[in-house]
């Protein structure tokens, strides 16, 4: 026989192997979360400890809050970790999720170029700061991806009575880290969560300008996907994650996470139970 590239003799075993491997996938916990928890490095800090405690492997799908909630609605993940309280309440009310479990928070802040063309430095009212940006014509990069940060940004523009549009308003459609990089490259302002900001501040030419306004609070919650609607979800593992995150051990791990020497997230489930039973 001459050389053959495709001898039939090993074709069948090879195909059998392919499909064998195709179907051999275990059922770990699927977590849809925001780019802010992943890009800030928090999950890389928390999840190994969770796995060491429970033996449950968590597979992270990092998207915006809006998409994370839609993945939960469709039953494509077991649990979501997001930061948009209003959208979360709708998610639970619609029957997609069992319950909101708040477990940590941080804050948003406005960052911008060091030369600060809109003169935000010293401003404490975030809505006033947005009005100034719009008036100055300085550029602003929006996430534009229906993420939690984007939802917050839109609510703030609304509070300012403005409908941002035009060349100065850049809708990126990217994750938080990418948007910080874009704002740095463009010399633009943007709204960021504190965790991602601490992770990126040394890599981008931006400065923190407005923070501390109570309207910039950024609470995070985990919500298990309701097994009554999607019986295939790994509900037990989802509840294990909820309980661990809200346990003293999980809360300590959140508090201990430091970025460039600063605490990035504040645990909020320590002490008396603060889960919301009725919205």
């Amino acid at each position: 026989m001459r050389r053959r590239l495709f001898p039939r003799s090993w074709l069948l075993p090879v195909l059998a192997l392919c499909f064998g491997v195709l179907s051999a996938t275990a059922a770990p916990l699927r977590l849809a979360t925001t780019t802010s928890t992943q890009n800030s490095g928090l999950l890389d800090h928390l999840l190994p400890a969770f796995q060491a405690r429970t033996g449950i492997e968590v597979q992270v799908i990092a998207v915006g809050t809006g998409r994370a909630l839609r993945l939960g609605e469709a039953g494509d993940v077991d649990v979501v970790m997001v930061h948009a309280p209003q959208a979360e309440r709708r998610f639970v009310a619609s029957g997609a999720g069992t319950q909101r479990f708040p477990f940590m928070k941080n804050a948003f802040l406005l960052v911008g170029p060091p030369d600060d063309p809109a003169h935000l430095r010293g401003e404490t009212d975030v809505v006033q700061a947005l009005v100034r940006i719009a008036r100055s014509g300085a550029r602003f990069v929006s996430r534009g991806d229906d993420s939690g940060t984007h939802k917050k940004e839109r609510a703030l523009w609304q509070a300012a009575g403005l409908h941002p549009q035009g060349d100065w308003y850049v809708e990126a459609g990217q994750g938080m880290g990418k948007v910080l990089q874009m704002a740095g490259e463009l010399g633009a302002y943007t709204l960021t969560d504190q965790g991602t900001w601490l992770a990126y501040r040394d890599r981008v030419a931006l400065e923190p300008l407005v923070g501390g306004d109570p309207r910039l609070d950024n609470p995070y919650a985990v919500i298990p996907v309701d097994p009554r609607r999607h019986p295939h979800v790994n509900h037990r593992a989802a509840m294990a994650l909820v309980e661990w995150l809200r346990s003293p051990e999980g809360q300590r791990a959140i508090a201990a996470y430091r970025l460039h020497g600063r605490q990035a997230f504040v645990p909020t489930a320590i002490g008396p139970r603060r889960d919301e039973t009725v919205p």
Partner: protein
């Protein structure tokens, strides 16, 4: 901020030191794309063979269709496979979304038109003498197919290499249906996209170098197959 030079040096360091995180990602890429090629190739070659040597109504249309599909964007494939495999889609019960099998399905769809179009051309190019033999055997027979496949083996090898080169470098479909999950569905292109968005360029550059080296190797192999095919038509 890291300069380009220091990121590049760091990238070389990662490659040379055999950084396990880096090579795991390379492993995912190869494992997924090799399985996709193994599944896609046999049926695609049969289709290429049929389109090359069987006259039937609508053949021209099918050939045009596959040639059009050559230009199919990976994100469109990703979107389609995503909709099929989502729990709300018709194949949702498989639970394949955000797993390697989903990436494999997407890459099969991407590889198939390339394999069909190039294998059809390879089958068309075989010695008419061999074709006579096949005609006496009966062109529809398995013997006919294997005989011609042996004659066209270098052209078919080139088809496989070209298709592999396409799917191992695609990012659109893998990102959408794989979800870029560390240790599972993070392959070279999705890792480069992520590292770039995180601003840590060294690993992105290192992975890019792996892809470039691979492309070079595949092109050399492609050239070799095509030269052999021309020398022994």
């Amino acid at each position: 901020m890291n300069g380009v030079g220091s990121a590049f040096t760091e990238a070389l360091g990662l490659l040379i030191s055999g950084d396990p995180a880096l090579w795991e990602i390379v492993g995912v890429s190869f494992s997924v794309s090799l399985r996709a090629i193994l599944v896609a190739t046999p049926p695609a070659l049969v289709v290429g063979y049929v389109l090359a040597w069987h006259a039937f109504p609508g053949r021209r249309l099918l050939v045009s269709l596959f040639e059009t599909l050559l230009a199919l964007p990976a994100v469109v494939v990703g979107l389609t496979v995503y909709l099929l495999l989502s729990r709300r889609g018709p194949l949702g019960d498989l639970g394949w979304l955000f797993t390697q099998p989903a990436m494999i399905v997407g890459q099969i769809v991407l590889a198939f038109p390339i394999l069909v179009a190039m294998s059809r051309a390879a089958f068309r190019a075989v010695d008419p003498h061999a074709l006579e033999t096949v005609r006496t055997l009966g062109a529809g027979s398995v013997r006919g197919f294997t005989t011609l496949a042996r004659e066209a083996q270098f052209g078919l090898g080139a088809a496989v290499i070209a298709a592999f080169g396409r799917i191992i470098a695609e990012v659109g479909s893998s990102m959408m249906v794989g979800g870029n999950i560390l240790h599972h569905t993070r392959n070279i292109p999705t890792a480069i996209a992520l590292e770039t968005s995180k601003g840590s360029f060294a690993q992105g550059i290192a992975l890019g170098l792996v892809l470039l080296t691979l492309a070079l190797g595949l092109n050399v192999a492609l050239g070799w197959f095509q030269a052999r095919g021309a020398a022994h038509p």
